[in-house]
């Protein structure tokens, strides 16, 4: 069964004078959690602005939920929640007031807006702090408030721009857990980040862009698939194992004190096991080597 894309960009180009922010990008983004990965200045925020109808593409077409953004920007915007990267909260107001206000701006009646604000602040873990002015909030609490205001009008699509920026490791883990959880509520998430680990941790799909051009897009699982190599950790006697495997005609090398071996068949793995046994080596680990998103990005960027 073919899943209709939630976001469809066709030959999308955006230029600011001589600078090309997006360069003929064509990509279909399915519902679910998708990571939009690229270095700073790669065009992630420009893509978000175009999705929100806050800018017009120089050429090309952009659709959200089957609706062309340039033809119905207000309608599209009413289905999107947006969490910017930078500080954007009125510091002299309470989290409850801010989130309720943005619920009202999303079209909810005042009473429902306050109720939703309370519920969503509870969801992001700010139930007890919601009546405190935001000026007294930590970075993590402010990020949660930003997430709450993006969520409060019950969007179909959530645009998160670097949601873990400035967070300590615990805060980052908590934020990623929240993002992952939001995805289970039937809300699609587009997570812009330059941190591939974040994407690998919570996203089902990845769109990688570099210099405004699409590098690679696809399911995270597919991109980080097996590389046809196994990694063997036999402690400090790795060179002995490499020598035996090379003698057997296999391609093996020591990388970071681990033996990496190219395997073609299950028989090759058996041969490795037997070689370790024959040499009497301690086997600490034997596992498939998966590509990381970093590998994928670097390889694809180099190729493009």
């Amino acid at each position: 069964m073919t899943v209709e894309p939630l976001v469809r960009a066709t030959e999308l180009t955006k230029r600011f004078g001589p600078v090309t922010a997006l360069d003929g990008m064509t990509v279909d983004i399915p519902p679910g959690r998708t990571g939009l990965v690229g270095e700073n200045g790669a065009g992630k925020t420009t893509f978000f602005r175009l999705l929100l109808g806050l800018g017009r593409p120089t050429s090309g077409r952009l659709e959200v939920g089957g609706r062309a953004v340039d033809q119905d920007p207000i309608g599209v915007r009413s289905t999107i929640g947006y969490m910017p990267e930078h500080d954007c909260l009125p510091l002299d107001q309470t989290a409850a007031d801010v989130v309720a206000t943005f619920a009202e701006l999303g079209g909810l009646p005042p009473r429902a807006a306050r109720q939703r604000a309370s519920d969503v602040l509870d969801l992001v873990g700010l139930d007890e702090a919601r009546f405190r002015p935001i000026a007294g909030f930590s970075t993590g609490m402010r990020q949660r408030t930003k997430l709450a205001q993006a969520l409060v009008a019950d969007p179909q699509l959530l645009l998160l721009d670097e949601p873990t920026a400035g967070l300590d490791p615990t805060g980052r883990e908590e934020m990623l857990a929240l993002v992952e959880r939001v995805g289970t509520f039937g809300i699609s998430v587009l997570l812009a980040t330059h941190l591939l680990d974040d994407v690998q941790q919570v996203c089902d799909n990845v769109v990688m862009i570099d210099g405004g051009a699409l590098v690679v897009a696809g399911a995270t699982e597919g991109l980080v698939q097996r590389t046809g190599m196994v990694m063997v950790d036999v402690g400090d006697r790795a060179p002995e194992l490499v020598a035996v495997l090379m003698a057997l005609g296999m391609n093996a090398a020591v990388v970071d004190s681990t033996v990496e071996v190219t395997v073609a068949t299950e028989g090759d793995v058996d041969a490795i096991r037997d070689a370790i046994a024959d040499l009497g080596l301690p086997l600490h680990r034997l596992s498939n080597r998966f590509r990381s998103l970093d590998d994928v990005f670097l390889t694809a960027a180099r190729r493009s």
């Binding site: 109808g53 800018g55 930078h86 909810l108």
Partner: protein, 296 residues
């Protein structure tokens, strides 16, 4: 017996209630701005200025009604402590102070705290934003201008022996007052918001607004001179704060004030209307350009 408890994760509930569109968002922004300007849901200090000004604005009406009550059996012929037309001037002086305090407060923090990207990610346009903010300030100024006049009208009507006669004799003010106050309210609100849109700092916006009003009034006063001694001059149009009061005179009197700064100026009324429209247009243009959010 032992008590037992449980912690429930309420999870996430999708919203399936009524949802408004652009109009609802604009109205919401209007309400939020109104609350902020009046200091509602804010510390008590923020409530002092607006309600103190409203209290001061009502004093002349209360005094006038009080005099009317005391002298109800022997009403002084030809004496009025304050007229409806004069009241617009009294109110407009307070409006200047009020809009200088509240106008920057409803606009500058949005830019200073970088809230605008969040606002424009909602189903709103720049024009909606301007309309909501302008509408909020103008609505409060209008209310603060009309409430004292309602007190005055109602009081005068009730303290006299012939309420219906008073109503019939003064029926014209029932449209003149709201129209004149509306002209003043929209004008001052547009100017203060236009200035506020150019800076993220409230104090700078307030100072520039008050400074502009005082400076233009002073320059106009010097150039026009004493209108009791000679005719007025078109230089009176320079006085930005006084400009809507010429329109008030046109509404109440049907012509300009014979003792005003434009007295004796050929087609002075027409010039006043054109100058008013021009200033208002420039202020609105500044606002719409500053909040045209697409492609910025």
């Amino acid at each position: 017996m032992t008590a037992s408890g449980a912690v429930y994760d309420r999870g996430y509930r999708p919203y399936d209630g009524p949802r408004g569109g652009r109009g609802a968002a604009r109205l919401a922004l209007f309400r939020v701005s109104l609350r902020r300007a009046l200091g509602l849901r804010r510390p008590w200090r923020q409530k002092v200025a607006p309600f103190l000004l409203l209290g001061i604005a009502v004093i002349p009406a209360v005094v006038n009604v009080g005099i009317g009550y005391v002298t109800r059996d022997r009403p002084p012929v030809g004496f009025e402590f304050i007229t409806y037309r004069d009241y617009v001037v009294v109110s407009s002086s307070l409006f200047l102070l009020f809009v200088a305090l509240t106008g920057p407060d409803v606009l500058c923090p949005d830019r200073r705290n970088r809230v605008l990207p969040l606002v424009f990610a909602r189903p709103l346009t720049g024009a909606d934003y301007v309309a909501a903010k302008l509408g909020a300030i103008a609505a409060i100024v209008f209310a603060f201008g009309v409430i004292p006049q309602i007190v005055l009208f109602g009081g005068q009507m009730l303290v006299g022996n012939h309420a219906l006669d008073y109503l019939r004799d003064h029926a014209a003010v029932l449209w003149q007052v709201p129209a004149a106050v509306a002209l003043v309210a929209v004008y001052y609100a547009a100017i203060v918001l236009a200035i506020s849109s150019l800076t993220p700092r409230r104090i700078v916006a307030a100072a520039v607004f008050i400074g502009l009003m005082l400076a233009t009034a002073t320059v106009a006063g010097v150039l026009v001179g004493d209108t009791k001694l000679h005719r007025g001059s078109a230089a009176g149009l320079i006085d930005l704060a006084g400009l809507p009061l010429h329109l008030r005179d046109l509404l109440f009197l049907g012509h300009l004030d014979p003792a005003g700064p434009l007295s004796g100026v050929a087609a002075g009324g027409l010039f006043a209307v054109i100058a008013y429209a021009a200033v208002l247009s420039v202020a609105l243009a500044v606002l719409f350009v500053r909040y045209r959010w697409e492609d910025r």
